[in-house]
């Protein structure tokens, strides 16, 4: 006979404001099998948990139902409390009176009645719960980091420095990411490359880090502690072992007019190229799309000039498989290509550029060697207009969110411009200035007050060309929407940060959830900011949402700490909510008929074949068996099995049946 304890939480007033918690507890007490039913202001608090623990001990409870918030929030808390009181943690269930009842319904009798129904459902389910023991799984202590920008670099170094092996995968020819493109960084104006490149070199030289550049994740199998990642090593056409990085090849390459991705199209590169001089690894690759040989079968000049014979044409992509225990996603972001804004004339007017292009103009390693010269004629612009929120915070454009970094880098751009072009005039159109962060507000004030950037609050409606000038038409909303017209030499759009291309595809490959803007979703916005919903996969940096460098590095170290924590034990304990094939009587008979259709249905290849033998050792029949280390507990096999020979612990047929019947108050 079950002895169930029901514990109804008020959650301060979150539940009790619309649900009569006292009545819920009273009604629950009347249910068959309920030994004790109480309500309390904060069940999750220490005194609240003590109430539960004492009731378990005093009344000898066989099951506990906590009627409080979402089990996604506090199920672990209460299960732990029960375990501490000597009750098997899987005899504890939660019913969601807050998110699914008090917060979504008005205060009335029906709401309280619903709460009673919800409690009854879980009481009936809990009566059929069975004590379960955690499953232990070995952990392979090697991490995979995807993305070699500052986030991936930081995470890799942290994990590697803790003594674990790291596989770092970067899709481009060099690591470094967007940070390597930046000129100087706010709020200190230190040179981006000066602080980044030593880290890049550290990655390359670290004994614990294996770097796969020009590579992408092909597929991922397995689960926390035991992932199997297949990585595609894209053919570089250059043997990195033989190449010394002398540069003879790209100096002689006849294709010289390819817009450089690193310079955001403001400079040119060759078909065989390293993205930038400080690239890590500093060995070229051939861009097959643009190479003469790959396009029309003739050329091979690089092969002729290479002193070490490193060029290897027509080699296919290769694949490597790595067994890793944890994965860090650090795939970064992209900036919205401003052809998104026909009204601003990007692409039509050469001197309308993006913030990232301005970074290249301002960078000492950039196409103008750090001089601010406009793309159209190379003249130094005397009047520059900066437009903040180009795309961001614009629901009509489908980007309602704030890109977070633009206010700061626009202030930085105005500042750099004023430093570099004495007597130049800069105007910043903005919606609001968001400068939360250490020394950020001071930085913006400096741009305005010391460097004389002219900040205009308002939006730009249109840009057009007239007599060699860009006419920027906007309004100044602080002056009663007064129209403003500026004749500019160059316009810089602080275009929105968006998810990296291929983010959705990658998320699907890895079974990680993502938000409507294709940024990867964290497991909890506050309390699990670097975890994903898939155990063992963590995220950091701007693949989650636009982030500046300090935040990116902080989350990268956070994700690394999670990985190191996971690797601190040899075994991982997993929830035993897995499927099992029944074994009746003496454990050697099963109702399973061995059709093995469950095997095709299982997404984790967790179902194996097991031969049932008689005493003489002859095979009587072959039945299914679930490998509890591989099973993730989805239960697809359970509802598929015709003879109901397979069931799932924690969500068993009997439990779900009882719960459904209890919804409708039919015993």
């Amino acid at each position: 006979m079950s002895k169930i304890g029901v514990f109804v939480c008020h959650c301060g007033e979150n539940i009790s404001a619309t649900v009569d918690c006292k009545k819920v507890a009273e009604e629950a007490a009347k249910l068959t099998g309920v030994e004790v039913s109480l309500d309390y202001k904060y069940m999750c608090s220490d005194p609240g948990q003590t109430i539960i623990k004492e009731a378990i001990k005093e009344k000898g409870l066989t099951g506990v139902v906590v009627a409080a918030c979402s089990p996604r929030m506090h199920e672990p808390t209460f299960r732990k409390a029960c375990a501490e009181a000597g009750l098997n943690p899987f005899m504890c269930e939660m019913t969601n009176l807050r998110e699914h009842c008090s917060w979504v319904h008005e205060k009335n009798d029906q709401t309280t009645e619903k709460a009673i129904d919800l409690v009854r459902m879980l009481v009936e389910k809990t009566k059929l719960n069975k004590p379960l023991n955690e499953i232990k799984v070995p952990v392979s202590k090697k991490a995979l980091v995807i993305g070699g920008g500052i986030a991936g670099i930081q995470a890799s170094l942290d994990i590697a420095n803790a003594g674990h092996q790291v596989i770092l995968v970067e899709k481009e020819a060099s690591i470094g990411g967007h940070m390597s493109q930046l000129s100087e960084t706010f709020p200190t104006l230190d040179c981006s490359q000066c602080i980044l490149t030593p880290r890049m070199v550290e990655v390359a030289q670290h004994p614990n880090i294996t770097l796969y550049n020009y590579a992408e994740l092909e597929s991922l199998d397995g689960f926390i502690g035991n992932f199997k990642a297949t990585i595609r090593l894209k053919a570089k056409s250059v043997d990195p072992k033989a190449c010394t990085g002398c540069g003879a090849c790209y100096n002689k390459c006849p294709k010289k007019k390819i817009p450089s991705e690193f310079n955001e199209g403001l400079g040119m590169r060759t078909a065989i190229y390293t993205p930038f001089p400080q690239a890590v690894p500093n060995k070229p690759v051939i861009d097959k799309e643009n190479c003469n040989y790959y396009k029309n079968g003739k050329c091979k000049i690089c092969e002729k000039v290479c002193p070490t014979g490193a060029i290897e044409f027509d080699k296919p992509d290769e694949f490597v498989t790595e067994n890793v225990g944890a994965i860090v996603l650090a795939t970064g972001f992209n900036v919205l290509k401003p052809d998104f804004f026909p009204e601003y004339g990007y692409g039509q007017f050469k001197d309308v550029i993006t913030g990232l292009q301005f970074e290249r103009l301002a960078s000492a390693s950039g196409p103008t060697l750090g001089e601010i010269r406009r793309p159209s004629d190379g003249k130094v612009p005397q009047k520059v207009v900066f437009i903040a929120c180009a795309g961001s915070r614009d629901p009509a454009k489908g980007i309602p969110y704030c890109s977070k970094i633009c206010c700061m880098y626009t202030a930085k751009h105005a500042m750099l411009y004023q430093h570099k072009v004495h007597g130049g005039e800069s105007t910043v159109f903005y919606m609001d200035i968001r400068a939360g962060g250490k020394n950020y507000e001071e930085f913006v004030r400096r741009a305005i007050e010391e460097d004389g950037a002219n900040y205009v609050r308002g939006r730009v409606a249109r840009i057009y060309e007239k007599d060699g000038k860009l006419i920027v038409k906007g309004v100044d909303t602080l002056l009663g929407a007064k129209p403003v017209e500026i004749e500019a030499d160059m316009v810089v759009l602080a275009s929105a940060g968006v998810a990296n291309c291929g983010a959705e595809e990658l998320a699907q490959k890895m079974h990680v959830s993502y938000d409507p803007y294709k940024f990867f979703a964290e497991a909890h916005p506050k309390l699990k900011p670097v975890e994903t919903n898939t155990a063992g996969i963590y995220l950091c940096g701007a693949c989650q949402a636009p982030k500046d460098i300090p935040d990116t590095v902080a989350t990268a170290s956070g994700a690394a700490a999670k990985v190191i924590g996971l690797f601190s034990k040899d075994e991982l304990t997993r929830e035993p909510l897995v499927a099992v094939v029944n074994r009746i009587a003496s454990h050697d008979v099963s109702t399973c008929v061995g059709c093995f259709m469950c095997q095709t249905a299982c997404p984790y290849q967790a179902i194996e074949r097991e031969e049932v033998k008689n005493r003489a050792g002859e095979v009587i029949k072959t039945v299914a068996r679930v490998n509890p280390g591989l099973c993730q507990g989805c239960g697809t096999c359970v509802s598929f099995c015709r003879s109901k020979s397979i069931d799932i612990q924690g969500f068993s047929n009997e439990q779900m049946y009882a719960e459904v019947l209890a919804v409708l108050n039919t015993p």
Partner: protein, 262 residues
């Protein structure tokens, strides 16, 4: 027919089989017959009056367990045999299949692959009458269909002849016998009868040969074979005719089409 008798005789004489599953003449229609010797082979018949799906006997352990079996198989039985192989219920080296064509000639299959090839090319016998009934029913209103089926299924007294006649119903413990929880009411009520049929038909999805033996077996003539016939057509319409590895419900395509999920 003489061809069948001599062929089976030969199988026994060469000691290739221990039992042959076929038909013998009955009082009105031919009935299933198990031949154990070359002599018995003379009693075998096969004609268009032969009803049922003999593949049903292939999973009866008491009958065929460990024995080398021969069988005369209609188009539908061949389909069932192919499916039973998919479901690991048959062993290729213990089974000799003689396919019976509609003109009475015999197809000797060397192995499963040949059966599959034959099935992929052969045309399914037409089910004109069933198709007409199906059309009639789908043209009814939902309320009329409910009336029709609740009337029909109110007559069912759960003898499970439909289950016994079906080659695909070989579970050692059928869902109807599962009592924790009691998924289906064991007593006779329209609802329980309906739920039994819904289960049966869902379990047949993509596995059913559409032989109609279930309906033919029903002692009170409830047209339950229309349910499986309809399911077979629905499966084909939604997921194609080809029998991929596994059955339709244990496989999927990411681009399966539906129009009812919001």
């Amino acid at each position: 027919m003489a061809e069948l008798n001599s062929k089976v005789k030969e199988l026994f004489e060469k000691d290739l089989i221990d039992i042959f599953i076929g038909y013998e003449e009955g009082t009105r229609n031919p009935r299933p017959y198990f031949a154990y010797s070359a002599q018995d082979a003379d009693n075998l018949v096969f004609n268009d009056k032969c009803q049922g799906n003999l593949a049903v006997y292939l999973t009866r352990k008491d009958l065929v367990g460990g024995k080398r079996v021969g069988i005369s198989a209609s188009y539908f039985a061949l389909k069932s045999i192919s499916q039973l192989f998919d479901e690991n219920q048959l062993k290729e080296d213990l089974l000799i299949v003689l396919g019976m064509k509609e003109d009475g000639s015999i197809l000797e299959f060397k192995g499963l692959d040949e059966i599959r090839t034959y099935l992929s090319e052969a045309k399914a016998p037409s089910k004109q009458k069933d198709d007409e009934l199906l059309k009639e029913l789908s043209e009814m209103s939902q309320a009329e269909r409910w009336q029709f089926w609740s009337d029909e299924l109110s007559k069912c007294f759960k003898c499970y002849a439909c289950r016994a006649a079906c080659p695909m119903c070989y579970c050692t413990k059928c869902i109807i016998e599962v009592n924790r929880p009691q998924w289906i009411q064991p007593w006779i009520s329209t609802q329980g009868n309906m739920e039994w049929q819904i289960n049966r038909v869902m379990h047949m999805a993509g596995r059913c040969s559409d032989c109609g033996s279930c309906g033919a077996a029903c002692p009170i003539g409830i047209p339950i074979h229309l349910l499986t016939h309809m399911m077979t057509k629905t499966v084909a319409a939604n997921f194609g005719e080809s029998n991929e590895q596994g059955n339709v419900l244990s496989t999927f395509k990411p681009d399966d089409k539906e129009n009812f999920i919001l």
